[in-house]
Symmetry: C2
Subunit: 210 residues, 2 copies
Amino acid sequence: MKLYDCKTAPSARRVRIFLAEKGLAPPRIEVNLRGGEQLEPAFRAINPYCTVPVLELDDGTRLCSTAAIWRYLEATYPEPALMGRSAREQARIADLQWHIEHEGFTAVAECFRNAVPGMKDRALTGPLAYAQIPALAERGRRRAVAFLAALESMAVAAGPYLCGAHFSVADIDALVVIDFASRLHLELPAEAAATRRWYAEVSARPSVSA
Amino acid sequence: MKLYDCKTAPSARRVRIFLAEKGLAPPRIEVNLRGGEQLEPAFRAINPYCTVPVLELDDGTRLCSTAAIWRYLEATYPEPALMGRSAREQARIADLQWHIEHEGFTAVAECFRNAVPGMKDRALTGPLAYAQIPALAERGRRRAVAFLAALESMAVAAGPYLCGAHFSVADIDALVVIDFASRLHLELPAEAAATRRWYAEVSARPSVSA
């Protein structure tokens, strides 16, 4: 297999960390998102959604979302489990990950893509141009601030990882969202002691710099 | 287990269809979303995200997203499989489902919640009030139209279901999005013959009226 990747893209980082936790290092092809390579015909033929990450399997199947790539890798390389073992644990991780993606990742992306000059007409990923909406940049910022504060109740309840005893995709997503938010100068609240402890611990894992 | 449900909510319908396909019929508690019951203290204590569906397990665990509920049910009641069997099939279904959710479901919800007078200050689900953004209603409509047209290439490639030989969560999501879009008078393109054939077939399944 091989990975279409971009070193600066938060979604691609979610897959790189996952791969590193599994001890996998497939060949990587860097896609120049800043240069618009994802919109060119050559890359559209690889992924019509014009996004990275893309995992290409040896039979030519291309998986064009983090969700699908994680699912494939977890089923094929079960150890260490990053998406839970028992039905209940799988479900609790899926629940937390879904909320982190939809309330955290989406919020920061909403702010970033609607606010940053370099994203003009790129307010959404994909082949179609969507103009920036200033009110959406504002809303995204407000949502992101609420999300960063809400992490504290998850971190307080957890131990030592967000879903309990094992590092999981919920930790990967929360970590990537926090670092993505810092590009917009949005930080964890000063009083979020449990989140800060958790963040320091997971940030020290070798996979995180993958 | 028991399900917190709402007969008119598209997300809850995704779970009802899934349950019916598995031959399961847990007790249902109807939550009056139109009356704002999801924002009242009693329901917030059940689900702080203020949404349905919620699946409550017998040990008291509450799963507050469709993703988590599906994952739990698939692991606990594997037959018939709705999320794939082999790693590759699981991944292909996850890929398609993710894109249908993010490009279809999200688009229609974006239009609906930002356009409908009854959703004033409810442009997003959850406990916080978010004002409607007229430009977002427009964008959502444009995205939804593009999504309904894009389904045709999936339906043409498929047989007879969107991911091949077996009915899956990709079919559930596409079906629910199409019906959700019709509330906004957005319909499949007249020329989308393969999608219309597929839609007629899946709409005839008994689970769909669950």
